[in-house]
Amino acid sequence: MPAEAILEVRDLVKHYPLTRGIVLKKQVGAVKAVDGVSFDLRKGETLGIVGESGCGKSTVARTLVGLERPTAGAIRYHGEDIAKLSGRALKAVRRNIQMVFQDPYTSLNPRMTVGDIIGEPYDIHPEVAPKGDRRRRVQELLDVVGLNPEYVNRYPHQFSGGQRQRIGIARGLALRPEIIVADEPVSALDVSVQAQVVNLLERLQDEFDLSYVFIAHDLSVVRHISDRVAVMYLGRIVETGTEDEIYGHPTHPYTQALLSAVPVPDPEAREHRERILLAGDVPSPADPPSGCRFRTRCWKAQPVCAEVVPPLAVPEWFAGAAGPAHPSACHFAEERHVVPSE
């Protein structure tokens, strides 16, 4: 049943050095933004990556599209490690992995017309479309994302946020990529427009056979759009599984806390809903806790949590159980129902 993995990420690490001095720089530490992340993306599926700010999810996105070079680890696209590529070879791979940005107001160059913005991928990769054909292709793309093809000569500020996000998506589609990495693509949009864009993304996925890496902090949107979900905390994946496994049968305490904290648009639920309130704040990624990184906020923490890093693995007790087994990086992983089911 599972399709082939087109993208394999293995032990991805991205550290940002902290330096002192202006001309002669001395490294005094590192922000461990991503610290050993592995996952697969299969053909045609949507992998949701959720987590709070500072968990490293955006850094993962930026390394996938080549905006950042990983400190260590491999990103294999059809078996080829793109982290090691450069120059022409990297450019060729980039064609197939495109990105949609969060902020539709800053992700479009205000000095360029919509036609130039969507057509820019063809300028950079001229082999994709012959020059005479570009205008037609741009107009086609506008049509595909639900905008009037006659808008090619307009500037971004003449559009609303939702329309701009459609332009950003059209730009991402221009090179007919296999994978689209979407970093919080709807979180800057109004509720009524958010649904339009989510529906558009789903339609395009079917139409163009796309695979998505969908990064968001909104757990509801992620559930809606994702086939599989990875939950990140302080640079690591703490739990991963299918949408139903994560939302219906979470086993990691952080996932449980995260899910229980999401406000549910149903006032009836507020009396009998169980909420896990976490104490304190996320520790600094420059100096993460030893062992399990979540232990400083975890109600289950034991001495072992400070000493042994819990591996991201299917808990042993799952082996015999009938329920859906999925990996969870907790020494005391145990299922707990936190999302009210209908």
Binding site: E52, S53, S160, G162, Q163, D190, V191, S192, V193, Q194, A195, Q196, V198, N199, E202, H217, D218, L219, S220, V221, R223, H224, I225, E243, D244, Y247, A257, L258, L259, A261, V262, P263, V264, P265, D266, P267, E268, A269, R270, R275, L277, L278, G280, D281, V282, V339, P340, S341, E342
Partner: protein, 349 residues
């Protein structure tokens, strides 16, 4: 600078006890170089002590502008209040002198903003900023004010308040900064707090902490709370009543349970249907078609009619008044009856 608190003039004894805040038919417009933007067009709502009113709306709905007009912090120009009354304990703030308004603000009503980092002065320690409230409004000595600051920080559950009172805003995390903002708003024990998207910039787990704190403090002090937000989830968790705004108007007001169970305005229904739910893996989301209107060219008739699945001819010409749906419930839809019952035309899904 005021050196002592001035007692509020007692409300007229002859009238029945007025609401804590009663906004009546408020109009605000922005005069920009490209024309007149009608940001608020006849908004009325009231809040009583101990009550939480949620004002729900998308960007450009006028929800924040209304709050700024109530607080008297509207940037003018380009913004102008062109009509209506803002009755605070029966007294019209719009007719008050700037000096009187300034005294009401902070002491009797306070505001919490979304972005705590830019709302706090980066070069003053949080202790100094909290203490300043007492020094300016109550003429307290610096040392006493500092002690009060620590007390406040304790009350909003900032750990190790005593040792952190000298820290600067950037040394706190987002959630902690928002607690400091709340402490600042609480300092003079106001009767009314307006919170404008107080948790939007925060992470989910921190959001829950801050919302809980706000709700606890409100109960403790028996304050009125106006919670301005775009998030239907946050509203459902804390509000007693809700007012939904669209294009500078209130389109529906209702007790919280009624609104979620049977919305009486197609816009509200559309919003509820268009949000993905945590507790279900939905099919395609319902999407309200089109875009919110430009405030310089609000459609005639019902401003929602171009996007409304129930719109008929009358909607394009007659502006619907706020119809009484039930006691404490109203809807600005000509067809609220069929909307409440959710009958024909059901959404084309």
């Amino acid at each position: 600078m005021a050196t002592a608190t001035t007692p509020e003039p007692a409300p007229d004894p002859g009238t029945p006890a007025p609401a804590l805040l009663d906004v009546r038919d408020l109009y605000v417009e922005f005069r920009t170089r490209d024309g007149l933007a009608q940001a608020v067009n006849g908004v009325s709502y009231r809040v009583d002590a101990g009550e939480t009113l949620a004002v729900l709306g998308e960007s450009g709905s006028g929800k924040s502008v209304t709050a700024q007009a109530i607080m008297g912090i509207l940037d003018s120009p380009p913004g102008f209040v062109t009509g209506g009354e803002v009755l605070f304990r029966g007294r019209d703030l719009l007719k008050a002198t700037p000096e009187e308004r300034r005294k009401v603000r902070g002491a009797r009503m306070a505001m919490i903003f979304q972005d705590a980092l830019s709302s706090l002065n980066p070069v003053l320690s949080v202790g100094a900023q909290l203490g300043e409230m007492y020094e300016v409004h109550q003429g307290m000595k610096r040392k006493d004010a500092r002690a009060k600051a620590v007390e406040l920080m304790d009350r909003v559950k900032i750990p190790a308040a005593r040792s952190r009172v000298g820290d600067y805003p950037h040394q706190f995390s987002g959630g902690m900064r928002q607690r400091i903002m709340i402490a600042m708003a609480l300092a003079l024990e106001p009767d009314l707090i307006i919170a404008d998207e107080p948790t939007t910039a925060l992470d989910v787990t921190v959001q829950a902490q801050v919302m809980d704190l706000l709700a606890d403090l409100q109960r403790e002090y028996d304050m009125g709370l106006i919670l301005i937000t775009h998030d239907l989830g946050v509203v459902a968790d804390v509000a007693d009543r809700i007012a939904v705004m669209y294009a500078g108007r209130i389109v529906e007001t209702a007790p919280i349970h009624d609104l979620y169970k049977s919305p009486a305005h197609p816009y509200t229904r559309g919003l509820l249907d268009s949000i993905p739910r945590l507790d279900q893996k939905g099919q395609e989301l319902y999407a309200i078609k089109g875009l919110p209107p430009s405030l310089t060219a609000i459609p005639p008739g019902c401003p929602f009619h171009p996007r409304c699945p129930r719109a008929r001819d009358v909607c394009t010409t007659d502006r619907p008044p706020l119809y009484d749906v039930a006691p404490g419930r109203s809807s600005a839809c000509h067809f609220w009856e069929e909307t409440v019952r959710d009958e024909e035309p059901p959404h084309a899904r």
